[in-house]
């Protein structure tokens, strides 16, 4: 294994910087682990992006990809925006980020296959992406096995930072528990306490944990479940499930389906008259649900999300993100793009803080971020050391009436931005046990 002089120098700086941070550098990091240092050349590092560009999650996936690409371009160019995030010079630690995107169709096996290729063939120093929670779980397991950092893309299941949590996986999106705890009081205040609710639940880890959490917190608000319809992922015709929901006598329809499934099921719910008789609540909105269903159907709908461009009035870095994204892609970014964008910056900042690409040091830096929170597009945030879940604010949205929209992408009002600390589960609540560093 060969080090160049520059690498050694940077490593030395990193070790010194690391020692200044609490918890970092306490133990010696191995000189060689995973794709480090083989994957760090004198002028570049490789990042592998596994993204569903086809299939049920393709809308979110396409947006996610654009977010990663924008952040990578900005970081590589090293302009004003990268500086605002606290990065120095061009690239990360002077290395340009090279990347490849593989379309994984939202299927965990394809995610693992392409991430393995990125790690073995391209010596990826970091893997990021995925939209499905099932994919995220598979990828963080792979990352921990291969000792390569994995930054989770869009993924709402509690299991990711719960029972399936991994030392090498970090999630910046809120989990289902946080989203439900933030959302339930807001909708109960708006729609009432004595409410009968019907749930449509996609049959995979995301669906089940979002259901568990929202059922729990809505019950605490006095809501009563009258129907629970579990449907396979990628269902095209929801008529049978919707008939049961339509006949349930519910006041509120809680639709947990995500991506293309959310569009199809909501469209059909409208045709079955469900939306006439019931209010629609979407615990986690999909990136383009607004555009794909139209403001007519989405008006008055409550939901949570990772990011809405309206938060740019609150956070300065959100403003630069939204402006540069719109200039580049001619539409307003959704939370897919935001996660990709923010994650890339978070990783770059952590690497620069650690002063090395060594994943052990980068992980310890992120785990120590409570003492030194990151300033981001959603304000100050940090990763919890115990489960790698980001503690972060959660925007609660309500669909605008078409007549109230100021322009064609002005779909939501921000009803509230819930404070992260107040909605966190206890770190061991979902049985998280992070594995070893080495």
């Amino acid at each position: 294994m060969q080090f160049d002089r520059r690498q050694l120098l940077l490593g030395g700086v990193g070790a010194t910087a690391g020692l200044m941070l609490p918890g970092v550098g306490a133990a010696q990091s191995p000189a060689s682990i995973g794709t480090f240092p083989d994957g760090v050349s004198a002028d570049s590092v490789f990042v592998g992006l596994t993204i569903p560009l086809t299939g049920v999650f393709s809308g979110d996936g396409g947006d996610l990809k654009l977010g990663y690409e924008l952040a990578i371009a900005q970081i590589n160019a090293g302009g004003d925006i990268a500086q605002k995030w606290g990065l120095k010079g061009k690239g990360v630690l002077g290395r340009q980020i090279r990347y490849k995107v593989s379309d994984t169709e939202g299927k965990p096996n394809l995610d693992v296959q392409s991430a393995t290729q990125f790690i073995q063939r391209d010596k990826a120093i970091m893997v990021a992406g995925s939209v499905s929670s099932a994919s995220a779980i598979a990828l963080e397991e792979l990352g921990s096995r291969e000792k390569v950092l994995y930054m989770v893309g869009i993924a709402g299941s509690n299991d990711i930072t719960g029972k399936n949590c991994q030392r090498y996986g970090f999630r910046s999106q809120q989990n289902a528990y946080m989203a439900a705890k933030a959302l339930a009081p807001v909708v109960a205040k708006a729609l009432g306490k004595n409410i009968k609710a019907a749930f449509l639940v996609p049959d995979y880890t995301y669906g089940h944990t979002v259901y568990d959490s929202f059922a729990k917190f809505s019950t605490e608000q006095g809501w009563k479940q009258v129907a629970k319809e579990v449907v396979p992922l990628g269902t095209t015709d929801y008529s049978s499930a919707l008939l049961n929901i339509a006949n349930s006598g519910a006041d509120v329809f809680v639709n947990i389906a995500f991506g293309g499934d959310a569009v199809a099921s909501t469209k059909q719910a409208e045709q079955f008259g469900v939306l006439k008789r019931m209010k629609l609540v979407v615990p986690n909105l999909s990136s383009f649900q607004d555009k794909e269903l139209g403001a007519e159907l989405m008006q008055g709908v409550y939901g949570s999300c990772d990011f809405w461009w309206g938060v740019q009035d609150t956070y300065p870095l959100a403003k630069t993100f939204v402006e540069s994204f719109v200039a580049q892609n001619k539409y307003y970014p959704r939370w897919g793009a935001h996660i990709g964008y923010m994650q890339t910056y978070l990783w770059a900042m952590s690497v620069e803080r650690a002063g090395t690409f060594n994943p052990v040091d980068v992980i310890k830096t992120m785990e120590a971020s409570k003492a030194q929170p990151y300033d981001t597009t959603i304000g100050k945030v940090y990763f919890r050391a115990e489960d790698h879940q980001m503690v972060r604010p959660i925007p609660i949205l309500r669909g605008k009436a078409p007549s109230a929209m100021k322009h064609k992408e002005d779909f939501y009002d921000i009803v509230e931005i819930a404070d992260g600390e107040s909605v966190m589960n206890a770190p061991d609540f979902f049985g998280c046990k992070l594995g070893p560093y080495t």
Partner: protein, 291 residues
């Protein structure tokens, strides 16, 4: 045990779901039954139909016109595919046919994706189909009720053309012995061309009619293709009546299982298919040794 009104509602929904599945499967089975080609581009052609309707609706806002123009487009597409590619594969093994049609499917889906992106497109329910209709204790979407009637009419016409006209006879005779039919002075190749195009129009039309109900995305056909294969296996490979009956059975299985537990509906469908394959490998209407 669900109440009787719920069971009856689900049985009715099974009928609606079944007719839709029957139409989706009919295009597949017409091409398979008459030309012997296993068309794996079926799902992609379904999506092409939906997008054709979407495009025409952008300009005309008339759903009927969208159907008419969409059908004309699918007919031309069917002609082109048959002339340029498919006809060279009539005499080739099924594996070759599967590969080439699967490839066509990928190309078509990617064309859609590059033209329209991955997000779902909005195709609204036509003005004449909006709202819900009260059927006794059951409230059912008006558009879906109309679909049952429209599709029943379409399936009947398809059956008559292919099984009760001289053209249908020519095609079936052509499959058995093209040389003999040729000696009789009949242009078999032209008949094949027409049958393939009719199959393409049928699946495209299913896509157009379905567009207001589902999420219109480039990959929307994948699930329909999987289900329509189950349907034609149930009904018997290449049997048109089999596709119709198979579709109705599949619709009822999915819907009635949902009355008890929605998460088992697709499992039950595949379980039934497996059971049938053990008891009657050729399907309900299939003949032994066929295809």
């Amino acid at each position: 045990m669900p109440s009787w009104p719920v069971l009856i509602s689900q049985a009715f929904n099974g009928l609606a779901l079944g007719t839709l599945l029957a139409l989706v499967s009919s295009g597949l089975t017409i091409i398979l039954g008459t030309l012997g080609v296993l068309n794996f581009a079926h799902g992609a052609l379904f999506a092409v139909g939906a997008y054709a309707a979407f495009v025409v609706l952008q300009y005309t806002s008339s759903f009927v016109l969208a159907l008419v123009v969409g059908c004309a487009f699918m007919l031309v597409l069917g002609f082109l595919l048959e002339r340029i590619i498919i006809r060279f594969f009539y005499d080739r093994p099924h594996e070759d046919q599967i590969l080439v049609t699967y490839g066509i499917g990928i190309v078509l889906v990617e064309c859609i994706r590059s033209g329209f992106g991955g997000n779902a497109q909005r195709v609204p329910v036509p003005s004449w189909g909006q709202g819900a209709t009260q059927l006794g204790f059951l409230i059912y979407p008006t558009y879906r009720l109309q679909l049952i009637a429209i599709i029943a009419g379409l399936l009947l016409s398809l059956y008559v053309v292919l099984y009760r006209t001289s053209m249908g006879l020519v095609v079936r005779a052509g499959i058995e012995n093209p040389g003999m039919v040729g000696i009789l002075g009949i242009n078999v190749r032209r008949a094949f061309l027409l049958v393939f195009a009719i199959g393409v129009v049928a699946v495209g039309l299913a896509g157009m009619l379905y567009a207001p109900v589902v999420a219109v995305t480039p990959d929307m056909g994948a699930n329909f293709m999987a289900q329509s294969f189950v349907v034609i296996v149930l009904g018997g490979l290449g049997s048109f009546p089999g596709a119709v009956i198979g579709g109705l059975i599949a619709g009822e299985i999915i819907s009635l299982t949902s009355a008890f537990n929605s998460s088992y509906s697709e499992v039950m469908l595949y379980a039934l298919m497996a059971l049938l394959l053990v008891l009657r490998p050729q399907g309900l209407f299939g003949s032994e040794g066929r295809v």
